[in-house]
């Protein structure tokens, strides 16, 4: 039975294996030179703690290709769900071959569990291999960027892609079983998968563990400035950077929960002039009303306000990877169970 599930899947598996080999070749060709540049420039400059120039060179050279490969890696689980998951049962129902398959001397549920195990397992292996290669290849940039919890790294490196692949595959299978047609199942898979990933990333991931809270002086913020709003000037303090951590929220707050209102600014920084209309948010040194007023005003704000940071610290990275991967895999298993049940009870 396993043999036949594999035999039907062989061609599709070969296509993806070919793509993985191509990616591996690209990584093996470009990886060592990227590592060499890192070792000779960025790693050295760190000793002298002046890395601006070195990282700029590195970014210029490798940002685009790493971003490109990362973006592709984000889509890969969805593609597996669309091209491996959705047609798996839907194609049999659509073309009528289920009448051949389900009348052999094997129970329908066993037939289906075997198919799900072979193709679902292959999905997870494919996504895992790609993630493993990408994680190795992009290491220098990850070290420079110090943003392991950022979506581009967290979602494409280590083990989360395995969870996404399991989930997308199961989503495809379930949609295929419910719709009985490949095309609508494919469309549903991509929409449902994107929706689930976006919702999870923005609403569930930040709260997988209760975050840590910390007060930070405004002077330690990485960037701050003013913007013009209809009601007057608005103070903005950029997120103070905590390397490799996941910032849930960061707000500027005074005693008793007070905030920097336009009224407060008019009162305490009367000479401060905002950026011209429609200008982007003020940045460090882009000094509306001149640098002396800008700095004086920031000093005044810093006396009464601070930044309240809510975040998931860097040392929780692996806990989060395991949590998220497990949740997606379990959701995938649940969907598979649902589709097996549906095929046994409801289909035909």
């Amino acid at each position: 039975m396993i043999w036949f599930a594999w035999r039907q899947f062989r061609l599709q598996a070969l296509v993806v294996a070919g793509v993985l080999v191509a990616v591996a070749v690209l990584f093996i060709v470009t990886g060592p030179s990227m590592l060499h540049l890192f070792d000779t420039s960025v790693a050295n400059c760190r000793a002298n703690s002046d890395c601006g120039a070195a990282t700029t060179i590195f970014h210029d050279k490798y940002d685009k290709i790493v971003q490109f490969m990362t973006t592709i890696s984000v889509i890969v689980p969805a593609l597996l769900g669309i091209f491996w998951g959705a047609p798996l049962i839907a194609r049999e129902l659509e073309s009528g071959t289920y009448r051949l398959a389900w009348t052999q001397g094997v129970m329908r549920s066993r037939w289906m569990v075997n198919k799900l195990a072979v193709v679902g397992g292959a999905s997870m292996i494919a996504a895992g291999l790609l993630s493993w290669m990408l994680t190795w290849w992009a290491t220098p940039l990850d070290i420079i960027n110090q943003n392991r919890f950022g979506s581009m790294v967290y979602d494409t490196h280590y083990i989360t892609p395995i969870g996404y692949a399991a989930f997308a595959f199961a989503l495809g299978v379930t949609a295929g079983v419910l719709f009985r047609h490949t095309l609508p199942a494919m469309a549903t898979t991509i929409v449902a998968f994107a929706a689930a990933r976006l919702a999870f990333t923005s609403y569930i991931r930040p709260h997988l563990m209760s975050p840590v809270m910390k007060n930070i002086s405004i002077k330690h913020a990485t960037n701050f400035g003013f913007s013009r709003t209809p009601s007057g000037l608005q103070f903005i303090a950029g997120t103070s950077s905590y390397p490799n951590s996941l910032v849930v929220k960061s707000v500027v707050m005074g005693r008793h929960g007070a905030t920097v209102t336009p009224q407060w600014l008019r009162l305490h920084c009367p000479k401060l002039i905002g950026p011209p209309p429609n200008a982007s948010i003020g940045k460090v040194g882009s000094a509306p009303g001149g640098p002396q007023y800008f700095n004086a005003c920031v000093n005044k704000i810093a006396q009464s306000f601070h930044i309240v940071m809510t975040y998931q610290p860097a040392n929780r990275f692996w806990t989060f990877q395991w949590y998220e991967t497990s949740i997606y895999v379990l959701a995938g298993v649940a969907l598979c169970a649902l589709s097996v049940w549906w095929v046994r009870r409801r289909v035909a």
């Binding site: 036949f4 009528g96 051949l100 009348t103 001397g105 035909a348």
Partner: protein
Amino acid sequence: MTSALQATDLGKRYGRKWALNSCTLDIPTGRVVGLVGPNGAGKSTLLQLAVGLLTPSSGTITVLDERPASSAEQLGRIGYVAQDTPIYPGLSIGAHLHMGAALNSNWDAQLADRRIRDLALDPRQHAGRLSGGQRAQLALTLAIAKRPSLLLMDEPVAALDPLARREFLAILMEVVADQEVSVILSSHLVADLERVSDYLVVLAASQVQVNGDIEELLATHHRLVGSRREIDNFPDAVQVIESSHTERQSTVTVRSVDPILDPTWSVESLTLEDLVLAYMSQAEVQRRDLVRTNGGAR
């Protein structure tokens, strides 16, 4: 084992439409059963219920005294050739045979290989490139290499040209002679069934119209021709199937175990085709009456 297929008040409904309605049947083993009826009469539905692809909406069905698809062993005892003989177009003939071997515990690999050789087919050939007749032969091979006790075939020859049709049925008869297998095959053409079957089930308007041994059916059905008259004065043992009248003459198809002795009728025997057509047109008349009555009530 006494029954190949036993149905009690069996029904299958799609939405509000009954594809098969209160069907009660008891088909013995060891027969070649022709299941005949017009398109949409419920033949496919009955066969799919028998192989467990469909579940009944009402009533019960057992096949070889077991509920269809109740176990892998039960599935292994039934050979099924589905309508339009589905195959995997991307897989070779050899891969199909491997599938049969992998999925069926009683698989007879020698038989399968020999049949493919006899058909002069190349096992490496993709099944998607086979002609309709070759496809049907492949499907039949897959079904009989399981060494089934019962072979169910849903319009196996409908898509074939006359030559392929004759060849298919000839091979089927060889199989029946070689193996101890009961067969139920459906067709909307009596001619296809006449050559091979010894038992008949007529299905029309979602219901079983008549079923039984063909010789017995032919012996007990008669066509009566005589001067025009009312036809409600037959004894109870004589069942009127169909009647038609011209200005001067009445023609009645009846079922009766006893011979018709009334000298005012000239008694003719029926062909199988006549018999089937009589039941089908009777079903059609009843269906129209029903529609008319329902329409009038509205």
